[in-house]
């Protein structure tokens, strides 16, 4: 069985081997972003200290004690859940719940993850929002760094795959920018955060051979509808007509 963290030479043939190498390097970052998004409390030690609630993070050191193999099993289950095809009947809420359940099921850290979730609920709504925004900012920095790396690879190595992944990462950054402007906890905020996590898992699914670059292309089309363009363009009839071909 392949391992997300190891087996340098093992990749699925239909995936660009260079992209595969990038994905392997990104597993650790994606693991951390998933933690930030599902357990935002882990990104906010300074705030909790300021609010004299540092005890809410008891057990945090264990998060970094998970071996590569344990992280691998943890992520792979979630990748399986997130690897749906565009023409499947998909219940996104159910998928999010299943990903969430996977946290409690983790052998070593399940209880810690549950405790963090409960502690987060004990915070006031204002504090929760502050912490969610901190987690989103941290995630955005990591996603941005990943994107810059993909872009550099796309220029030096070429390949449509790199471009598609960089476009998706750009959209995730833009989506986070949008969420950072929200001033209260809303259903939209929660569901779009789930969306971002699922998209990151879907990028890893490429490496596992569970999805293709076409699936990611479809995600780009879908995700674009949640984002207001910075520079509106107008599609003239000539362009529309060329779509017919």
């Amino acid at each position: 069985m392949s391992n997300l963290f190891h087996n340098e030479e093992e990749y699925y043939p239909e995936i660009n081997p260079n992209l595969n190498k990038f994905l392997r390097r990104s597993v650790e970052d994606i693991y951390e972003i998933i933690l930030y998004l599902y357990r935002p409390i882990v990104s906010a030690r300074n705030y909790l200290k300021k609010w004299r609630k540092e005890s809410y993070l008891r057990g945090m050191e264990n998060l970094f004690k998970l071996s590569d193999r344990e992280k691998d099993i943890f992520l792979k289950t979630m990748i399986d859940i997130a690897s749906f095809k565009f023409d499947e009947f998909v219940d996104i809420e159910k998928i999010s719940n299943e990903v969430e359940k996977n946290f409690s099921k983790e052998k070593k850290l399940g209880k810690t993850f549950e405790k963090f979730a409960n502690n987060f609920q004990r915070l006031s709504e204002r504090e929760q929002l502050i912490i969610i925004k901190k987690a989103l900012k941290e995630s955005s920095i990591k996603i941005h760094d990943m994107r810059i790396e993909v872009e550099e690879e796309s220029f030096s190595l070429g390949g449509y795959d790199f471009f598609v992944v960089s476009q998706l990462l750009y959209l995730l950054e833009r989506l986070i920018d949008k969420l950072l402007r929200l001033d209260k906890l809303t259903f939209e905020l929660a569901s779009l955060i789930n969306f971002i996590s699922i998209e990151l898992l879907r990028i890893l699914a490429l490496k596992e051979g569970k999805l293709t670059i076409d699936d990611i292309y479809y995600d780009i089309i879908n995700l674009s509808q949640y984002i207001e363009p910075k520079y509106p363009v107008e599609i003239d009839n000539r362009l529309i007509k060329s779509l017919e071909a």
């Binding site: 565009f86 996104i92 449509y160 598609v164 520079y231 362009l239 060329s242 071909a245």
Partner: protein, 212 residues
């Protein structure tokens, strides 16, 4: 009253001069007070068709970014000449994307130059597919002011019931099945509804599904 159109009929309505454009436009214009219901699956399919070309054209252009980004003064003759040269080269290499390359050229000239001091060219290029797809909503507004998207996701519980009820019906593909589920899952709120299609098989399946 409500009416709905199959994916390709919406595409005909959007694409001026296409085969059934005038007939579909007449149909829509005659339904003046009725609301056009568009299945989210259909809408995503349309976005997919339209998005594929802009994304490919953007990718072809993408490969020239390093050479353009090297030129710091975007108002210089060197920048303009390089931009023109890239456009010319791409137009001859991929003629089916000519209009899209012209759009990219125009947008860089119009919107990128004035923002170049604070914006990476890569980020500007990533914005183009978003803006392009976003304009489709406006095009839909033009063909019918009162239109509404419906998705089975609005009521998953009922959506799942519809999904199960249609399991025995053999569809051409899963997208057709999802279009019908989008409509059926919302039928309580969009009744009575007329569904137009030029696909015989789909029409037959939709009739069978009606009994459910």
């Amino acid at each position: 009253m409500y009416f709905s159109l199959d994916t390709n009929l919406i595409l005909f309505a959007l694409i001026g001069g296409s085969r059934l454009h005038d007939s579909i436009k007449n149909l829509i214009d005659e339904s003046l007070d009725d609301t056009l219901i568009v299945s989210k699956t259909s809408y995503d399919e349309i976005r997919k068709v339209c998005g594929k070309k802009i994304l490919m054209a953007t990718y072809y252009f993408w490969r020239f970014i390093p050479s353009l980004a090297k030129i710091k003064d975007v108002y210089s003759i060197e920048f303009n000449e390089s931009l023109l040269k890239i456009n010319k080269k791409l137009r001859s290499q991929y003629p089916e994307y000519q209009d899209f390359f012209d759009l990219i050229y125009k947008e860089i000239d119009k919107n990128y130059k004035s923002n170049a001091h604070s914006l990476r060219l890569e980020d500007f290029i990533h914005e183009l597919p978003i803006a392009f797809l976003n304009d489709l909503d406006k095009k839909m507004d033009k063909i019918k002011r009162n239109w509404r998207k419906v998705s089975y996701g609005e009521d998953y519980a009922f959506g799942i019931k519809c999904y199960k009820a249609l399991l025995d019906i053999k569809f051409k593909d899963d997208v057709d099945r999802l279009i019908l589920i989008d409509i059926l899952a919302n039928i309580k709120n969009i009744n009575p509804l007329i569904f137009y299609t030029n696909d015989k098989d789909f029409g037959k399946n939709a009739k069978n599904a009606k009994s459910f």
